[in-house]
Amino acid sequence: MKIIFKTIRENIFTPWGLWLSFLGVLLATALVAGLSVFWFGLSITNLTDIVPWGLWITIDLSSIAVAAGAFSLCAIVYLFGFKRYEPIARTATFIGFTGYSMAMMALLLDIGRPDRFWKSFVYWNTHSLLWEVTMCVGLYFTVLVFEVMPIVASFEWLRKKFPRIAEKMEHMHHYAPVLAILGLGLSSLHQSSLGAVYGVIKARPIWYKPEMSVMFMFTAILGGVALTLFASMLAARLTPKAKVNDILVERVSQVLGYMMIAYLYWRFWDWLAQTYTYEPGRTEAFKLLTSGTLSFNFWFGEMLFGALIPTIILLYKPTRLSPFWRMLGLAMIVGGVVAFRFDTNIVGFLTVISYLPGEAMISYTSYSPSLVEWAAGLGIIAFGLLAFSIGVKYLRVVDHRLTSEEYETVHVMADDAIKA
């Protein structure tokens, strides 16, 4: 016991110790908040019958979005054959695993009957997009568990204590292409269906459009890849344990920049088309974004700092080559995606459409998360940061020196024979 206290005393004031204590405080607060939600119920949140989905759903949507780097980069590496990006895919896989864990925590908090969460896998309503999302998230998380096994296998302690288990887990790496195909399928299905969850709601015209699923898919890939690159670069600056290959990161950042142009183009038409006809409720919700309570979020969070400026940063060579500017640009994309998800979710609720006949009466309501929601939500984010920090420190999650000898995918025997 004394030794433990001694180690804590000696290490608490190192940057690592302080960082862990900071996350620990957030997690402890979140634990209290989470337990009180389970104990007292959702009445202690600021959610209402009018705004039934709030901050936690935003965290759920955002963490699933920024976890999308896993399937995008795994597909690039294992299916399209860009093998040199493999170390980045490793980081993305770990972030994906963490992101989906966060999303499931947020959902567990958010549903009214967390004790019945398993029913969502047992009882099927195949008409429901949320059913599809639930099934895909569950299955994809299983795929991620297998994908993350070779990473966990690099934990020194595990290698020493249980060498056989570690070997088995590392062997999982040979199935990477199969897992990548499964992951790509399941991810594409649910990332877009997550948008369609909103897109099919005819009662709320701002959501009711087919582009919803495309927008969600698009923002997920952008946010996922951006977060993977940003987190890798940040880790490399903070600890010698993380090593990045700047050429790889720079190359992917440039591609991301071009994708941002496509996104801006698409987004432009997506929003302009909203104004073409007067649809009661849609125009009003659109106004809430452009000039109402969400306008700051929309113009600055989503448009200026979330899309326009990072596009320029990533496409203008001098800024892209500078690590500082590149990191800033990547972080802005992540912020933009989170802002997009927040606005999209909340705008549909804040615009209340009356069902009284005659004139279309539209009113606005407001929502601000309660302290409990913030505490639990920040705790979920702290969990993500903790998982990534531990991954960097002990699992070599960000290590671009790893070569394909160590992490080769498939040995093509036929090829050898031809050469010989």
């Binding site: 039934p52 009214g112 009957r113 949320l130 639930t134 709601i201 009662a203 006949p357």
Partner: protein
């Protein structure tokens, strides 16, 4: 169900009977009586139960199938299956669903003046909604009564309405009271453009002040 707005006085007795018979938390409402403006200086009301849509968005979106159609078309809730995700509340165009943010404990203030509870209380963490008092319909029909004709087989709100503004019956039967009323008078439904095909029809207040009968 047909609701005659020219007869509704906004007395809220349907709501009270509903609370008693379905044992609803006084903070929640299954059938709201809304103000719907004025005509010729008289206030107009719009009582709003669950619309029991033919194409109910809540049933379509429920991930676990806790919302479902009965054979007679009533949109039902399986309170034991529900996980409380609230997607049905997001999807309902009529705000007909209310969530049990808290557990309803203690006395129901509407009991016994407005009736006795006939169904179990719902637990915390699930949404609930009007069920057209399916329990009264089933029990009544099992002893040969006709819903909408015999009070014991008719939803509590319809029975209690002092002005007879609510009319209940089988829309599939062309000779039922509701079918005859709808044949005779112009009617409308809420947010018909959504294609949900609600089974609650409204008879509007007439400009000339004539009360429908």
């Amino acid at each position: 169900m047909v609701i005659d707005q020219s007869k509704c006085t906004g007395c809220d007795q349907c709501n009270l009977a509903c609370h008693a018979h379905n044992d609803i938390n006084p903070e929640l409402q299954w059938t709201k009586v809304l103000d719907a403006g004025e005509l010729n200086g008289e206030k107009v009301y719009l009582p709003r139960p669950c619309m029991q849509c033919e194409h109910a968005p809540c049933v379509e979106v429920c991930p676990v199938g806790a919302s479902y159609y009965r054979d007679d078309g009533i949109v039902m809730m399986d309170y034991d299956k529900c996980i409380g995700c609230r997607y049905c509340m997001v999807a309902c165009p009529y705000d007909a669903r209310v969530f049990n943010w808290k557990e309803f404990t203690g006395e129901n203030p509407a009991v016994p003046e407005w009736g006795e509870p006939e169904v179990d209380r719902r637990p915390r963490g699930v949404p609930e909604k009007c069920s057209f008092c399916y329990n009264r319909i089933d029990r009544g029909m099992s002893v040969g009564l006709v819903p909408g004709v015999d009070a014991e087989a008719t939803p509590a709100c319809v029975v209690t309405c002092p002005t007879g503004a609510r009319i209940f019956g089988d829309l599939n039967d062309p000779h039922s009271n509701v079918s005859l009323v709808l044949k005779k008078h112009p009617s409308y439904r809420l947010r018909e453009n959504l294609g949900t095909n609600p089974r609650v029809y409204y008879l509007p207040v007439r400009e000339d002040g004539v009360v429908e009968d």
